[in-house]
Symmetry: C2
Subunit: 442 residues, 2 copies
């Protein structure tokens, strides 16, 4: 029997899944290893955090997605080390897998810029567990405000701070504003949810720094109209039980807030660091591995890095952003390269990222989009956002469900998934208890 | 201003919610206190545990359900004590609420018959957290079997034991059989999920002890046809990491199983015990408080107990079962009694439980039902089960969603909510980590 070409793919996110699906050749034998048993549609994770969708609606079991592709074996496991000489990947439980080609798509983790104590007070939006924890935190805050004894206490429970005004920060703050002003409007007797303060803090001089300037201005206008206070050009210096401390120019301010959400940067995972060590590869400031034009690690043409862990550059030498599109195109490219090599072709054209554009959604009928250089905002951008996201989850069982859920919500302003789970209501619990370890080797 | 009649309701389950909804009189002021912020449609919880539904689809936020009823205030909190003399309820955080009428609907908790160490190995199906933990356990077992080194190890991961063959035990084992035989059929490369053993253990000589005998026989036949092994007349003597030990006659057997689910009995909560102490009320063997014919505690006509915590009896002196119908009718009765008293009427007819029947669902097109004495099984029983359950969740936003989800599943055998969440995949984690405290004061 002919020897098969063994491809090990680490991570079943956008990049890893795309790579697997583009390697259907029978002479290829794929082992896809992920810490989780599901592929997560990350761009809609904020909707889980804000109670619009249930986790099951934006996740698909990897086994289910790949069950018909007979050359793929899906394994639940966490890669912790790699031996590039022996071409082996080692899992946490000690199991090792040999590869002929390795595709690393393990992604990134949230960076608190070396302030790890902030993590406790300001969850980020990386995993399903964190999304559920954020939902818990938001809904619980209104409950606590209703039972607060002093007005100051109520005020602190009704103050929500989002740190970072990228797409995730805008999505979260916009959704929070809608929850306070619409969804919960009639649900309380003592407090008025619509008086909640939602404050979006950003270090840069504008929101959506990665977008063209006119769209940044539009986005700020849209989110402000929803009732979010946008504070730019500030530097967060502390986050603790009392709230957020930040510097604006020379002065330092404390925002008394019981709910702080982190929508800041990302960094490499410990598996990423290990891989860089083992291959002696160069990394950038946030720990991403600098890859060759063909997405492989220097000196290791059999190791591809795709998605958030890769520091790849465009024609102008600018690093590519950590978005789904880059990961997917990277996965497709790695698969194509492996196929070409199997046919004996060693030279493959370098990876070229085809940027279709970017978009951020702020609320109902409120979004901004840059599509092939065309700048849109408001209704048109929102409809395109809706269309694209519905199309993407076409492979998910739940597409119809999400659509109906959204339609319902749009008509009624209600949110279907408003559960506080994970911990019973006790007075001392104000921070989420069920946050998973979202660190490494995803 | 006229003094309002203060009703405190503890628990927003079927009983508490029904009571609140039947007390719309403006002279009544209701405070509904629950540990959770949502009402749970418990009869469908097994569908969350077996990956068919997401938690959000069978839960409705209490505030949302009651938002239009202006005389109700909903509070998130846990009752820990009551002072029946001063007519005050005390919450865990020290807050106290005075009442003119108290409706206690705090429910029951799972009983492991004084073997509390079993809880760790055999989760029960009481809360959303436990349902998610069970889902985790089931799906994780197949993943581990796929990676098992020895056939014995694989066999232990593919052996599922359900203890208790009441309605919940049958539902769980039937759903598990369908997962193994249909849903996961094509998803693995090494193991054959359809070879999983699913064993239903029961102490009594027949399954569904509360049902008529012919329906017990039917139910056993239906669940056996799905591939479940039913073992009756056995006594479980131990549950640990190795599996379940049970006695059959004189001999003792060990079933090597990595997944054990508990569908045994229920008992009073610590709040229930405290209430019994404070009111010097008599309790039955499982700690339920023996109530008067009008569902009040002896000597305390202002304290009603409804639902699982009440030991109420029918005309023949037989205790009423702990099912949703009894709780709902109890809640409606308590509300009616309070309304009558407000009109100056002190004598109210005793509570009479109107038994509409009982049903248990086993799988697709497989159920048994006893409706007004009419015994049904198979297709007809299943259709009625489907209809009744859809009608019940009519007040839930998610009715349409559940319907579509079921339709989809019926056609495709797929399950939409197959997420292993709550803990990353590590080798040592085999028991759920996120099980909430499901004990008291719900």
């Amino acid at each position: 029997m002919e020897q098969k070409h063994r491809v090990v793919i680490l991570g079943g996110g956008f990049g890893g899944l795309a790579a697997a699906q583009k390697l259907k050749q029978p002479q290829v034998e794929i082992t896809l290893i992920d810490r989780r048993n599901f592929h997560l549609f990350q761009p809609l994770l904020y909707q889980v955090a804000t109670g619009s969708l249930s986790p099951g609606e934006i996740a698909a079991p990897l086994r289910g997605v790949l069950s018909r592709q007979k050359n793929v074996r899906v394994l639940l496991g966490e890669a912790v080390d790699v031996d590039p000489g022996a071409r082996r990947v080692i899992l946490r439980d000690g199991d090792a897998f040999e590869y002929d080609s390795l595709i690393v798509a393990t992604g990134s983790q949230t960076s608190y810029y070396s302030n790890d104590s902030w993590r406790e007070w300001a969850p980020s939006l990386k995993s399903v567990e964190e999304a559920t924890a954020i939902r818990h935190k938001i809904l619980y805050a209104f409950e606590r405000a209703e039972r607060a004894v002093t007005p100051e206490e109520a005020r602190a429970w009704l103050t929500f701070v989002i740190v970072g005004a990228g797409a995730t920060g805008l999505e979260l703050s916009g959704a929070l504003a809608e929850i306070a002003r619409e969804t919960l409007r009639h649900d309380f007797r003592k407090i008025r949810p619509q008086e909640a303060r939602i404050i979006l803090l950003e270090g840069a001089p504008r929101v959506l720094g990665a977008f063209p300037e006119d769209l940044s201005a539009k986005a700020e206008k849209l989110v402000t109209r929803l009732g979010v206070e946008v504070v730019k050009g500030v530097m967060v210096t502390n986050i603790n039980a009392a709230g957020v401390t930040f510097k604006r120019g020379e002065s330092s301010e404390l925002l008394a807030a019981k709910t702080v959400l982190w929508a800041g940067g990302v960094m490499s995972t410990s598996f990423g660091e290990r891989l860089a060590q083992r291959t002696k590869a160069e990394t950038d400031r946030s720990g991403r591995i600098k890859v060759q034009p063909d997405l492989t690690v220097p000196n290791y043409p059999d190791i591809f890095i795709i998605g958030d862990l890769a520091h790849a550059v465009d024609e102008k030498g600018k690093p590519l952003p950590g978005v789904a599109q880059v990961a997917i195109q990277g996965g497709v490219y790695a698969a194509k390269t492996i196929r070409a090599r199997l046919k004996g072709k060693q030279q493959v054209a370098p990876f070229h990222y085809f940027n279709k554009g970017e978009m951020a959604v702020i609320g109902r009928a409120a979004a901004v989009a840059n599509i092939f250089g065309l700048h849109l905002s408001g209704w048109p951008a929102w409809l395109i956002w809706l269309f694209i996201h519905l199309m993407y989850i076409v492979e998910f069982q739940s597409r119809v469900l999400v659509f109906i859920q959204w339609g319902f919500e749009y008509l009624t302003f209600s949110r279907g998934a408003r559960l506080i789970t994970g911990t019973a209501a006790t007075d001392s619990v104000t921070k989420p208890e069920t946050m998973g370890n979202t660190g490494d080797g995803r």
